[in-house]
Symmetry: C2
Subunit: 496 residues, 2 copies
């Protein structure tokens, strides 16, 4: 940490603040293994909550989980040319299957005689390995749609890593679906983007733009990619999830065919979609403040923490018994409550720890509260401190948590609106991107040339062509050509 | 399948039957990637149920989940010598991080310039990588115990693979705990073995022997290993779970120390324990019959399947409406029910499919049932078919499921008892092992020599030194020496 107890502030050094929030919140740490992270128990509990909500949403939309191998034979990578190029540059390659002592006996080395006939790649994503298997599951239109999801670890070799946002190994889910028609595949691609937007806004309290990626930003091998984009507090964008319509590209590469109702053999239409532990990075950077983590109640491992306060050991039992008159009814209401009964730790130190860990609501329970059948409540998001009668608190606790949840979303949405600009010249775009940053809504001709120029000159990229931008005809702010190919404003921003 | 619709029977060819049950039950398949399996949606749903129950048990005993890297730097493997030897022989080794085109441009090859400075091993188990991280989490006795669990994929290079029982990659959980005293570590090791036994008997309906492994069968690097051993229907043993007391061995290798209350620096005491997707193999081989899979209600993806029967299309809507008068109340009771409303499929074909998939209770609902406000019930375990009044069925359904669960456990226990023999001579041991097989309770001197002799001559191994064998003094059935070192009968059997 920077100075004494406090964290580096966001305005001092945003990147440093981010790292300190993670450390202070005990979420994760860099592992001695290059590029890999250790997700610590508190961070993993947060991931479990996110995963469980998403998993329920996937199942409610008809998807089943399955599990496919970690290894992809090298030859699979040549089946979809664009895809291959996209991932071959950064992958972990398994070449041997046995270690033996070195000649001097002091170390271990791969046994040359255990060299694999064909190298195996650790999956960076599983399209190729999944298609290799499911093509045997599908004979006719009756076997479609096939709606699968997988929760797994994947590896993309990364030179510059950052906890949650960019690591060599990360955890994610990848949906893979197969359809009989282009329309159904498109419907699925859009539906799952909607699921992500629903999760992000209504559970993670992260407002998102929904839209389509430009050609240069789409997934390697996709017809097109939809995405949800969020704005972090440093006004940079975070791609929070993507949903790809793969058309018949992979089906053709893997000869994934089905017999139509009319008896014709056709290539299937496929999609894939995914979100990852990167969402935790997005959650941190959307809500947290200079005191540390701030978690939305719907995903927080502990929604309420109870800190009992006793001055003399003689008071302890009574205070704990009274605390239980809060803890037990909260549990009964299905609220995730944690009682911090640690001995030999000052209450102030506990307050400070739970503040850094972002627990939405803290209850302080001392002798006076016990006397009055009351409780001191402290909101993490606003810092508001209020004494309440115990019964009144219990009656209203769910409403309070809902209000915190709504406040976080509204605050993040207001921040994004404030920092989203209609931009009508390249100079203005540069000014914003090089200044405070933010989302720049601008007209674009649709050419790679303009996109590349902006990216190389300003480092801003096209985050998406938003679904909900109104139609607008005019000239590209870069080259002055008509935007008729796109027909609406697109969004530029620097991004994670 | 062997002949028409039927499976190969258990008596005809047990191994073939096992493979066919998995295929007919749509649980899993071999992947084109050597040694790896694909867990299909129905098989994965079963694993999810097992995982969720175990996860709850681990959390209820105070453990938290976390996640550690997939990769282990080669140098970590030399920190615990025995452990190193145990796993170096069969591992996947990552040596490069980039693919480039071959000189002729027709293929891809590892880029020589991307060769890693230090090779990485795909975790075969995570002790080494976890200890490398958590030694920084622990300063003093106040940080102990540390009670972690991880759900993950691991890789052990296997030459001969078998779905669920032995695959190169498999899914598992690995608990890793750190304690301040030898007593606490021992208590934890025993407690988690108890959790496994509880899960196996009360959820999977698999009776198990709890005991200790002989020196030669213990985990590489452990002080001692406890295990739960089940008997499959071919009378061979399956090691269903293990719990290791690692003493201070790993703590010393990784310099995992803590400061005691008295201010002294000491090496910690650690444990690890795990179960894997192998449990699915055990579940199959314990309960299934010649018609296919039989699943215990507490873990079955669908506990009840409802098959509506209509002769004319005009009846369909009424029948489905009536079926819902079963489905809706079952759902309300929290019972996992599946309505098989597939069109253009004969009811008989559906019955057959759900039988192969082992659904504990099948409901057939036709026009006559509708008229009588009744339902035809069919138990998978016994094949018993009984018409019932709808209300009476709904009132008793939980009791019926509980009875099926209890029947499966009782049947498996009776089978094990019938095939467990008190054996008082080596000749008798050989006779049993080379005949029908089974568990042989026998006196053993405790020497490696006798253990090795039996193993090389009969392929039987010591499954465990059971906790609940009574004390019994006498002579080793192999060498005739006294068994005073062991002091009770141990169990010999061929095993998976």
């Amino acid at each position: 940490m920077a100075k004494g107890q406090g964290l580096t502030t966001r305005t001092e050094d945003y990147a440093k603040w981010y790292g300190e929030v993670i450390e202070a919140g005990d979420l994760a740490e860099h592992s001695p293994v290059r590029g890999c992270m250790v997700i610590k128990p508190y961070g993993y509990a947060l991931w479990e909550n996110m995963r469980d909500v998403l998993d329920r949403m996937f199942k409610d939309t008809g998807h089943s989980n399955a599990y496919f191998p970690l290894f992809i034979p090298k030859s699979y990578l040549s089946k979809e040319a664009e895809h291959d190029e996209g991932f071959a540059k950064e992958c972990a390659i398994v070449t041997h299957s046995r270690l033996i002592p070195t000649p001097d006996g002091k170390d271990l080395m791969p046994d040359p005689s255990s060299k694999l006939e064909e190298e195996l790649i650790i999956r960076p994503t599983s399209e190729t390995i999944i298609y290799g298997a499911i093509k045997n599951w599908i004979q006719s239109y009756r076997d479609l749609p096939l709606l699968l999801n997988q929760w797994a670890n994947v590896v993309r070799w990364e030179m510059r890593t950052r906890l949650f946002l960019r690591t060599a190994e990360f955890l994610w889910q990848e949906g893979h679906t197969v359809h009989a028609t282009a329309e159904e595949a498109e419907e699925e691609t859009a539906k799952m983007l909607g699921v992500y937007a629903d999760f992000l806004e209504n559970w993670a309290a992260i407002p998102v733009l929904q839209g389509r990626k430009s050609e240069s930003e789409k997934f390697a091998g996709a017809d097109h990619t939809y995405c949800v984009e969020a704005m972090m507090q440093d006004r940079r964008a975070l791609q929070a999830g993507t949903s790809h319509n793969l058309g018949q590209n992979f089906a053709k590469g893997f000869d994934l065919t089905y017999q139509t109702q009319e008896g014709k053999l056709e290539h299937a239409w496929t999609t894939s979609w995914g979100v990852s532990t990167r969402l935790i990075g997005g959650l941190i950077m959307t809500h947290s403040d200079d005191k540390g983590l701030v978690l939305p109640p719907k995903l927080a491992p502990h929604q309420v923490v109870v800190v009992p306060i006793w001055r003399k050991d003689a008071q302890k039992d009574d205070i704990l018994a009274y605390a239980d008159k809060l803890v037990a009814p909260l549990r009964e209401k299905g609220i995730r409550v944690h009682l911090d009964a640690r001995d030999k730790m000052q209450p102030g130190k506990k307050f400070y720890e739970w503040e850094k860990k972002g627990v939405p609501l803290r209850l302080e329970v001392g002798p006076r509260d016990m006397e009055n059948d009351g409780v001191m409540t402290v909101r993490r998001d606003t810092g508001d401190k209020a004494p309440m009668a115990r019964e009144a608190f219990l009656d209203g606790v769910q409403a309070t948590l809902d209000e915190i949840q709504a406040t976080l979303l509204a605050k993040a949405r207001a921040f994004r609106e404030e920092n989203t600009h209609a931009v009508d010249s390249y100079d203005r775009l540069k000014e914003i991107v090089e200044g405070d940053g933010g989302f720049c809504r601008a007209l674009w001709c649709g050419s790679d040339a303009c996109e590349n120029q902006v990216q190389s000159e300003t480092k801003a990229t096209i985050r998406c062509i938003p679904f909900d931008e109104p139609e607008e005809k005019g000239d590209c702010i870069i080259c002055g050509e008509s935007n008729e190919k796109i027909g609406k404003r697109i969004v530029w921003s620097k991004a994670y």
